[in-house]
Symmetry: C2
Amino acid sequence: MARVVVDVMLKPEILDPQGQAVQRALPRLGFDGVADVRQGKRFELELADPLDEAAIERVREMARTFLANTVIEDFTVRVEEPVHVRPEERL
Amino acid sequence: MARVVVDVMLKPEILDPQGQAVQRALPRLGFDGVADVRQGKRFELELADPLDEAAIERVREMARTFLANTVIEDFTVRVEEPVHVRPEERL
């Protein structure tokens, strides 16, 4: 099982109201010094097949045709080690 | 300007209907071999202050109290090289 991560973010020239809402809320919550916030989507795909260049290319094609709207969004595809349990973040 | 990325994903034991919808749609669209899909959020924060351990700790605190719902979500905080070329930097 291989994990591939697809990050989808609005293109820099596209307004991001979600990110702006977060940025404007931060000072009210006591967090200063954040000049900009952009919010996007992260997809974690578990591939059944072995990971090779063809598999990555198929994920790129998925991202281009389905996961991202390439008119307004950029995407990146990368392979990531499977790390499901993040003990340091568990409360 | 330093860019810090906060990834927020549902905990593995929490059902992810968005990810399931994506996974079920993929075969219909001609993409087989994806065993699981999880969908989460990616925040890109541009910090005005220089990046040090205290700044990272403040971002962790933001994530814990505001960006993630730690009852059902895990988050990771990491420093990333700026990838997007912003229009104002091109000028």
